[in-house]
Symmetry: D3
Subunit: 324 residues, 6 copies
Amino acid sequence: MIARETAAPVRPFLNWDVITDPAQWAADVALVGIQHSEPYAGDPRPNDQARAPDAVRLVSRTFCYGPDQWDFDYGGPLSAVEPARCIDCGNFAWVGGSYDAYAEFITTSLRQLWRRGAQVFVIGGDHGVTIPVLDALDAIGQPVYILHVDAHLDWRVEVGGVRRGYSSPLRWASTRRWIAGMTQIGMRSTGSARRGEVEDARRYGSRIFTATEIHAQGMDPVLASIPPAVPVYVTIDADGLDPTEMPAVMAPAPGGVRFEQLAPLLRAVAVRQRIVGLDIVEIAPQFDQTNAITAITAGRLILNALGASWGADGAYRTGRPPAG
Amino acid sequence: MIARETAAPVRPFLNWDVITDPAQWAADVALVGIQHSEPYAGDPRPNDQARAPDAVRLVSRTFCYGPDQWDFDYGGPLSAVEPARCIDCGNFAWVGGSYDAYAEFITTSLRQLWRRGAQVFVIGGDHGVTIPVLDALDAIGQPVYILHVDAHLDWRVEVGGVRRGYSSPLRWASTRRWIAGMTQIGMRSTGSARRGEVEDARRYGSRIFTATEIHAQGMDPVLASIPPAVPVYVTIDADGLDPTEMPAVMAPAPGGVRFEQLAPLLRAVAVRQRIVGLDIVEIAPQFDQTNAITAITAGRLILNALGASWGADGAYRTGRPPAG
Amino acid sequence: MIARETAAPVRPFLNWDVITDPAQWAADVALVGIQHSEPYAGDPRPNDQARAPDAVRLVSRTFCYGPDQWDFDYGGPLSAVEPARCIDCGNFAWVGGSYDAYAEFITTSLRQLWRRGAQVFVIGGDHGVTIPVLDALDAIGQPVYILHVDAHLDWRVEVGGVRRGYSSPLRWASTRRWIAGMTQIGMRSTGSARRGEVEDARRYGSRIFTATEIHAQGMDPVLASIPPAVPVYVTIDADGLDPTEMPAVMAPAPGGVRFEQLAPLLRAVAVRQRIVGLDIVEIAPQFDQTNAITAITAGRLILNALGASWGADGAYRTGRPPAG
Amino acid sequence: MIARETAAPVRPFLNWDVITDPAQWAADVALVGIQHSEPYAGDPRPNDQARAPDAVRLVSRTFCYGPDQWDFDYGGPLSAVEPARCIDCGNFAWVGGSYDAYAEFITTSLRQLWRRGAQVFVIGGDHGVTIPVLDALDAIGQPVYILHVDAHLDWRVEVGGVRRGYSSPLRWASTRRWIAGMTQIGMRSTGSARRGEVEDARRYGSRIFTATEIHAQGMDPVLASIPPAVPVYVTIDADGLDPTEMPAVMAPAPGGVRFEQLAPLLRAVAVRQRIVGLDIVEIAPQFDQTNAITAITAGRLILNALGASWGADGAYRTGRPPAG
Amino acid sequence: MIARETAAPVRPFLNWDVITDPAQWAADVALVGIQHSEPYAGDPRPNDQARAPDAVRLVSRTFCYGPDQWDFDYGGPLSAVEPARCIDCGNFAWVGGSYDAYAEFITTSLRQLWRRGAQVFVIGGDHGVTIPVLDALDAIGQPVYILHVDAHLDWRVEVGGVRRGYSSPLRWASTRRWIAGMTQIGMRSTGSARRGEVEDARRYGSRIFTATEIHAQGMDPVLASIPPAVPVYVTIDADGLDPTEMPAVMAPAPGGVRFEQLAPLLRAVAVRQRIVGLDIVEIAPQFDQTNAITAITAGRLILNALGASWGADGAYRTGRPPAG
Amino acid sequence: MIARETAAPVRPFLNWDVITDPAQWAADVALVGIQHSEPYAGDPRPNDQARAPDAVRLVSRTFCYGPDQWDFDYGGPLSAVEPARCIDCGNFAWVGGSYDAYAEFITTSLRQLWRRGAQVFVIGGDHGVTIPVLDALDAIGQPVYILHVDAHLDWRVEVGGVRRGYSSPLRWASTRRWIAGMTQIGMRSTGSARRGEVEDARRYGSRIFTATEIHAQGMDPVLASIPPAVPVYVTIDADGLDPTEMPAVMAPAPGGVRFEQLAPLLRAVAVRQRIVGLDIVEIAPQFDQTNAITAITAGRLILNALGASWGADGAYRTGRPPAG
């Protein structure tokens, strides 16, 4: 049966209140775990990535000792930055029934968060979980630009007849009229994309920066490719980062984007324009190191975007001064 | 806040329906995950054991290929044995608020299951999760006898002022008037028990079989110590088993009970009298082998009790013939 | 293309000569690795089990320090026991082409070994590799009895249309007219067998001893079930042993056969009648401990059968006195 | 340079006082770590086994929660059993200089402990560390009988010219006139022994019980083989136990002695006669499980011998009543 | 005995045809595994590195999803780039007999490949396997320049009398008259080289770039040091790369060359001049991460060189247009 | 009791003489292990970091093959660089008694080394071990400047009443009048510092370079911030480095300082001014990779500072020419 609520997590993200009933979701910042996407035939369900949201929450204290501790990445204590209502909405678990209904429940629930103005952080699940999230972005009320970090292009129309699987989220985005465009960075090695998908992405106008280009030119051209006045949604496939830094992925590819390249980019975008949401997907905890570095790095990416969005420079582009 | 429902699991136990709303719990067999107990000062929350219910569910296919597969442990396919309504109730997650309210929610929910005649399987969490379960056993309507498998005695009145922690479940049981008595097996090495707790347990009338006695004399005296006509509740601390067989525990002690000793005992009890419930607690997934043997063994213990309870010999002591 | 020779191993088994050209196989004892079976749709090829033959060879020195060292399991040095011509035939690798041709190459090659009187040890690969081996047993010239150690029954006629996969070797055996019968031991938990397969096996006359029965009654009834005057072929699925002792398997099931139960049984059979061959299959090295215990245990099982077959008591039932 | 004191451990064994100056060693019970033996050419120095004494101490709280906790193995709290002066003498570290001087320092130091009546527990180091310990047993003042638990015989006169290495301790014992005889149990698989060493051991009168014999007949014949009125020294090679229970060894061999077999034997000897000392050697921490089961099992073996020696039944054969 | 063919691999590299008979080797691109070098006294045989060729092949699908997938490293699908005849020649296994004969077999076989114009990729084995490969380079018919990536210099004349071991390949190269010179990059920490070897290399004219210099100045000076019109042979010791990126090596040294530095260098050389061959050696699979990153990175380095050699820019310097 | 000597290590650092008696410490270079700091309530004692000194020594041969091998990091063989008297002073073990006395013993012992002119290398232990070392720096006889590498600021006055714990070493330094000032690099993520500690550090005049600043600007500004004519003491928390390079830490934070950034900085300081000492702390061996990369990297950092201090350029600022 389909849950009418989300499932409570093993422990909250940071010290945030857990509210699993969508009817009660009124928040400035919300975090949700989405554990499932539309399955491809032959893939195990649930996949290992379904464990990622709780794996990240579990190490919350490791990536943020406490809200009053000074964070050197964005320059201040979290308590001085984060707005009043930060909530952990739990996990969208799917334990049977129709996938359509599950996806619809996700989209409906996220629309509600965005209609009330929240900044939304999502932890997957595989990259298919981004699709019902994209569908909810129409609630922003203006076109949203996508910043995509990944080793792979993810532009398949379908695989084995499935259109909402983990190989398709950016193709899906290209078909939503409320998506303003996209910048895709970190591409390298091979994935599901063939010549046709590469050509389609270019024809659409996607700004693609391979990993090679990023190592050669840095992140300035990437920042320049993002129109400065539109809301941005960020989608990060963990395999976009270098596998030494986020080893817990299904398809590690050497030569990836480094944390010290990506974190400043996220902060630069956040202080310049509104990041309405950010997802981190494709973490497979079974491959993590014993020091949980993949989960910790995921948490730090979220905190960098959060801190820069609401801190003195960013203030989530609303004019509201930071609390601290 | 306290969930008014349980949390959906990563995937169901076997192929059972997931029903997270206690109001809808009408079942012949129900499985619940209970992730938290009353915490001792200084212990991490959540502890690693909170991950155990989903860890066991995740390997469901490994310990039961499918309901039509012949199970050589209890002699038949599960589909021929299990009754019509088997449900997975999800997890009792606790993400803030009063522990009292959380415990009360557990007790109330389980009472409802037992009042409707269900056989209940519980996966912890640490051994403190047994305490609100014991409180619900008054719903059985007649005294219930406890079979306890553990390396440790668990008879502390309190530790640091906490009375419902993982060192106290059997002491707690001794104070409930609907508990008919107890047999405790597998004791070895040291735990929280001091001379006083051992003497109290003996004075109460607990039948204690150390691991040494079990290796010397077998399980026949254990079976003989259990009064044959009363309902039985089984509580299994994973460290009661030998640490080679269930390595994923916090306090491994060599010389434990073997699966080939315990599984036949459970089946013998199940075909002789009604096992109203069984819990397996104290699994710490971080210490499991890469082949997940601890989680698999937990699942096999549940299936042995379930299969023998409802199979031709057992039929859960109701006269209802098995389906197959 | 199909190799017309077998592939040389990473290192020989023990200090045996490596001879990869079947035309040169004249031996008293021969060991072969068979890495592949007929694949089921969706299974990875090669599977992890294909690495097992070399994994066992690699630890040869750990399970046998040298031919002059006293072996306390069968009571003497290997050099005093083993006959003159012990060879390692390398691996049957399959890297393309028709599976039929590959299987035919195996059967033809093994027939030649048996026609010349060799005792043959096989390391799989999954349990499907036993099938072309069974086909070669007609070269023995008289009916051969099967001793099968496994958690599972392996009596499927087919799975997804494939008749020679790892779920079918004992069914396959039952259809070969040169197979005299079979004893199957260690069955427990569930596998691919449904009610129909269990009934077919019993109807055929298979003597099945579940793991529960072995733990209750010991190995004497097993030995008694094997007709004493016929040649025996032994097929050991590593998951037949307890997963604490052979953890590197795909489907670990608690409560398995112990080495201290199986090794004496093998020795008892070997000194009583001719063991024409023995295979050990389904070792998945990725799940082994860092001390390589699964590979070592496999090697010790082979040495126990070998040593007892050719030692003072056994002498491979030929009347030839042992060398030492 | 040669230390004139032993080296302080990372933490004490249990809560015992650490006294590293041999001049101050006056004790009822003493524990020492001996990290080195005479090296064979080509072996790394230090070997991994040198880390074992501190590895065992590190998990002290896991195998003994505290001195007032009831120990179900020997039936009582340690505080009621152990005598007044229990000390941890630290480690005999060797960091250069002559091995002869190092061995002499060990022998001299242990003689002093034994002359003052202490019961001595030793943690190796490889099995060569037993040799200078055996030399010190002349301080007991009467012949001492050896109980040896091992997969291997350890009767080499020399290896590569080295006479005090890990393959020789029992041969060495046979040449000391203060050694009354020996019982050797657990032999299986192969080691450094050839036919000559086996014959020498038998000719000397060693009572050898292979692992096969122990599994077939139990420990009663072993106990009967030990003369009941002489002091006993116990030497346990960790690979004598089953590798599922003590996996952290260099040469694991399946089918070993189980803790539930050995612990009762140690207790039976301890209540019958004086155990003047016991060593546990050949633990290689690099191969231990993440739950440290090898180190814990070593600690439990020591506690079983200690508890039974000094408890109500044993009282270290001195007539002094236990404290509790 | 010496194999007269190479041994078939566990699975092919990518989807290439496996041809193990050297007589049939007519190819545009060929990959071989060479498992052994001339052994130093005391080193284990086979060493762990012998497992590397099959470890890399096993993860082929991870580093190349399929020939039609777009590869962002060299910009196109492999199927549009690779020439018609790509073969996997299997492994040069050595299981006894003379090492001289084994080395001669390697040299003769590779000469044949090069005489027919193939581009050859080699996976070791340790770095000694490069030596018989260097001997075959005379078949190129003109001087060949060496690009060497390593933490170590590898310029020993001999070690313990052995001249063809893993410490000597670049010294060996300096003595072959068909070697035009060498550039050595990535040197750091210490290895077998002493002052004399460093001076000899400099005197010979080797262009040495330490890892420190590469991190300070980038790869442009390296590229400039390679004469632009000669054929190049590349030899990559896995420990030349940073141990975070290729952790599975025997002698990890921090501060190594990064994939994002090396891959562009390989591509730049490949589009400028002919890379007649490339080896990757010294991968020790036992130290790899669970995500197999070392094996994957090895595969990606091969694909970068291959793709750039035959792609639009490179076309293996033959004028033949790429297929796609 | 308090040791009056230090404890001998498992093996020496490199091939240095071990001298555990402080009375005999007359050296040019000395290495000590300090295993303990003042404990915080609730923290385990000993902590895992206490194992680090021996973990680093154990891999000595991996990070320095031998004193005559050419070291490409600082350009020459160690034997040509290191002065005559290099000693390993063993470990400061603490096994009971007053922490004050333990700290006093450390301070007194180190003062003696510094009074005699030694360069001192310290391996912790956690970061609290730096505090008694700082107290001994008054023996230098002139103000000493601190270079601090860490993810965290470590400026807490106290935690739970403890002033000498691992969160306080740099605060402690700021209160010693013989400390000339400090440069702190690598700060990122959060730690124990709150707004107050950051402000105090800035007010004191600490030159703080966050990890972000180092990745953006390189190490030149760091070098410029260190006054060029004063003696320098370096304190390196392993978590200051990137967790891909030193994974074995308790609080890994992505985006850290790279070895290829830090090693040149250390060399640049060493050739410009006198580095009187250097500590590396907070290595938790339980989290290290199987290739021991954290321990190896620690050794390489020490060797870089040592080699540059005493080599041709540095010569430890004494005018004494290097030996080689």
